[in-house]
């Protein structure tokens, strides 16, 4: 008899079969994922979960029989005697022949892991303008040591390496050592004339050689060499800016929340570390926590520039653009005081856009309002003008929850990068 411990064998033997199944059912699964993500809370979007897909195309048909006369033998007779007639709806009713496992028409339920879920969720999304900003996006320059060089700045002289080379050269060229000369000079003191002249000549020759071969020659000098290497910036910060003035309804906030959620999911996939900064504003802006951001009461006028200024300050104090990928998403109903337009526009184009990877503006409207009917708001007009001037802004109008996903999809679609790359 053998006993084999299989517990340490590599697990997930079924992984490949599972992937085949998911690939085969991809269209269906993706649809189900989209649907279920619409009904979820922000944070849960990152969790896997159970989904249900219709089984068209996924069924494994067999010849099955149904109907006809049936005979069955059952245990546990209580009161029946031969010849009794049982009403059909009653207890004695037998069951259908074989309830096929999960093969019923109403759908097949199974659990997707977190990764599978998010993968499907984000399937064909990519970073905006990936081709153009590829380096700046996920990488920055870093220095690292790369051997020695014969030229460089004096600050980078490698003393040990230089001295070592000098010594090798001196040894090879037989540069006399000072002790040798001193020894000969000492010998001169007490010896006869003939020997003295001989020694004098020798010392002279040695001294000449000593002078000719320098202790450190310029060719010995080595500098530490540094190379610039692209260093991935593995962290991103996401700024959520939202207008919380009285004109923003709960519904609008909910729309905004969903958009932030998608952006967050997207960033967490892309960067090892993602921070979120919530800035809400009325006529003045403040940084708040998530709960206050979405639920805290606030009232006042509307000055978009205050939020932009706050974001700029925070970036300057906490998130060096060299170390952080900066993403910003602004949600608003589009109201802004007229006088603020100029300031906001200048802040955006001069301070914010140059350091951001991506700036999206989402204009939210009331339910039922068609996005096409929404009149252009003051903020929308302003941003549109900036865009026309070449500012890298993404902007969309949304009035219903189901529109969020398509909008996000549009904003990030891979196609765009090809269009941009083409001309």
């Amino acid at each position: 008899m053998h006993i084999v411990d299989r517990r340490l064998n590599p697990g997930s033997k079924s992984l490949e079969n599972r992937q085949r199944f998911l690939r085969r059912a991809k269209a269906l699964v993706q649809g189900a994922v989209k649907k279920s993500s619409q009904d979820r809370d922000i944070k849960d979007v990152l969790e896997g979960g159970e989904i249900s897909i219709p089984l068209d195309g996924m069924n494994e048909p067999r010849f099955r029989r149904e109907g006809g006369t049936r005979d069955m033998v059952l245990p546990g007779n209580k009161k029946f005697i031969e010849g009794d007639m049982l009403p059909r709806s009653g207890e004695g009713r037998g069951r259908a022949s074989e309830p096929g496992e999960g093969d019923s028409e109403d759908g097949f339920r199974f659990v997707l892991s977190r990764d599978e879920f998010v993968d499907l969720f984000l399937d064909d999304l990519e970073l905006p303008d990936l081709a153009k900003r590829k380096l700046a996006e996920a990488e920055s320059e870093g220095l690292h040591r790369a051997g020695y060089a014969t030229s460089g700045s004096p600050a980078n002289i490698s003393v040990s390496r230089t001295v070592r080379l000098a010594m090798a050269r001196r040894t090879a060229l037989r540069r006399p050592r000072p002790e040798e000369i001193a020894q000969l000079e000492a010998e001169i003191e007490d010896c006869d004339e003939a020997r003295r002249i001989e020694l004098m000549a020798e010392i002279e020759a040695l001294k000449a050689k000593f002078r000719r071969i320098p202790y450190i020659d310029p060719i010995d000098i080595r500098y530490r060499r540094f190379e610039t290497m692209p260093k991935p910036v593995a962290q991103a910060v996401m700024f959520c800016l939202m207008d919380v003035s009285g004109s923003m309804s709960e519904h609008m906030k909910d729309l905004a929340k969903r958009f932030y959620m998608l952006l967050y999911v997207f960033l967490t996939r892309r960067y090892r570390h993602v921070e979120i900064v919530f800035i809400r504003h009325t006529d003045r802006a403040e940084e708040v926590d998530e709960d206050t951001f979405f639920h805290g009461p606030a009232s006042g006028g509307t000055l978009v520039s205050s939020a932009l200024q706050a974001m700029h300050d925070i970036v300057r104090s906490r998130f060096r653009p060299a170390d952080w990928n900066i993403y910003a998403a602004q949600a608003s109903d589009g109201d802004n005081s007229l006088s603020d337009g100029e300031v906001a526009g200048r802040l955006l184009t001069e301070m914010i856009l140059p350091v951001s990877q991506f700036f999206a503006y989402l204009e939210v409207g009331e339910t039922g309002g068609s996005t096409f009917d929404m009149p252009d708001s003051s903020l929308w007009t302003l941003y549109q003008r900036l865009r026309a001037d070449g500012a890298a802004l993404s902007m969309r109008k949304v009035s219903d929850r189901s529109q969020i996903f398509p909008v996000f999809h549009d904003l990030f679609q891979r196609r765009r990068k090809q269009e941009k790359a083409a001309p």
Binding site: M1, H2, I3, V4, D5, R6, R7, N9, G11, S12, K13, S14, E16, N17, R18, Q19, R20, F21, L22, R23, E50, M58, E60, P61, R62, F63, R64, R65, E66, G67, G68, T69, R70, D71, M72, V73, L74, P75, G76, N77, K78, F80, I81, E82, G83, D84, M85, L86, R88, E91, G92, R93, G94, R95, E101, G102, F108, R109, F110, V111
Partner: protein
Amino acid sequence: MTATAGYLFEGADWDFTKLQHIHDACEEIARSELGLDVYPNQIEVITAEQMLDAYSSAGMPLFYKHWSFGKHFAHHEAFYRKGLMGLAYEIVINSSPCISYLMEENTATMQTLVIAHAAFGHNHFFKNNYLFRQWTDADGILDYLDFAKSYVAQCEERHGRLAVEQTLDAAHALMSHGIDRYPGKKNLDLRTEEKRAGERRLHEEAAFNDLWRTVPTGPVKSAALLSTERRRSLLGLPQENLLYFLEKTAPRLQSWQRELIRIVRHIAQYFYPQSQTKVMNEGTATYVHYRIMTRLHEQGRISDGNFLEFLQSHTNVVFQPDFDDPRFSGFNPYALGFAMMQDIERIVSNPDDEDREWFPDIAGTGDVMAVLRDVWANYRDESFISQFLSPRLIRHLRLFHLHDNPEQREGILVDAIHDERGYRRVRRELSRQYDVGYIDPNIEVVDVDLAGDRRLMLRHTVVKGAQLNETDAKRVLQHLADLWSYDVSLVEVDAADHVLKEYVLSPRGVAAAA
């Protein structure tokens, strides 16, 4: 072995030494007292996740890759996670050596139970039952599965995953009709199969010469000249093994597709005995574990506490809810099998007059194990029940027979109950529930119009008015047509030869031409 009182183990913990001792103790009893004859045992300890993996590949340790296994895995996993489904304590594979998987979570008592159940009960049944001896090749199965797995992978490389998947989908749909039900010329030898498959491929590669394609073959011998009778006998019709028929005669299949069909067919054949012996197989294993555990307890090698733990799970296993119980979902093969085995034990050792009248051959012969070993070797569920279900057990289980005729408006007729007039009828009907001849629809290939449009003609002989489910039948026939690559028709015919329904499907064209 622990020193105190000779217990094999104490408490719930086990380790590999203890497993070894448990196995040895069980083996001692199994061989000397029960006279069992088993394959060498291989016991493998696995985790819950590995158990789920095994579930989705029909319990086998290795299997070719196919999406449907992934689907089953996803399904089982969802149920398991929700707590809707417990996992089996063990899986045992009909192979030599006989592999039993034990879950690592099991307590020491459970491991003992499982070793007695699987490594001796099932193992003996696999080795001795005539169906398994006739239809399965325990020595070759693992090698054959290994071959199948790598062959499918190779085909995917050469011919593309899609083409392979389509062929396998189609073959799987016909799996239940890819079985030889009657012993043929020779036993299946999977090792030789595997070798022959390799040789066929080598020969093809070696003998390949593109020139042969261009050699004119001369006028085709007119198939029209063949009489219908002659044609049918040449093709071996009627043929109920659809996969076999396709493999041998489908006109446009590539050789690798034939090989894939062959693989599916062999695997279906391997599992065929299992579906016919559920009650007997589980009954045997349950009876054996009950005997071994009781004996171990008598010998003082299992403590009273652990024995109670065993009794509790044993009772759960052999629980049979009544028909009106919400938990009822048909007969529990463990319960029915175990009850019948115990009943036979009683008849052999301590019969009453009724038993003497019903079972003159075995009543009172005294040697329980000889009778049981003979039963285990020579019966399947259907014949076992029709021979050995005793009136006493029918009374005990309070069995009754319902006859449901949809034409009868008043309701369902109680046709027989557990009384003098009903015993034989109940017994006959119950054994019929386990007769594969009644369970699977009877579908045969009856003719091929080779001279004309090459239509493949099938016939479903309808029994008791149960016709095929239309949606599924169409899907299966579509797969069949894809493999056959010409039209396929199926007629459903009742006993009086009236055609009840006819299906005709045309191939989708892609799969076969690939």
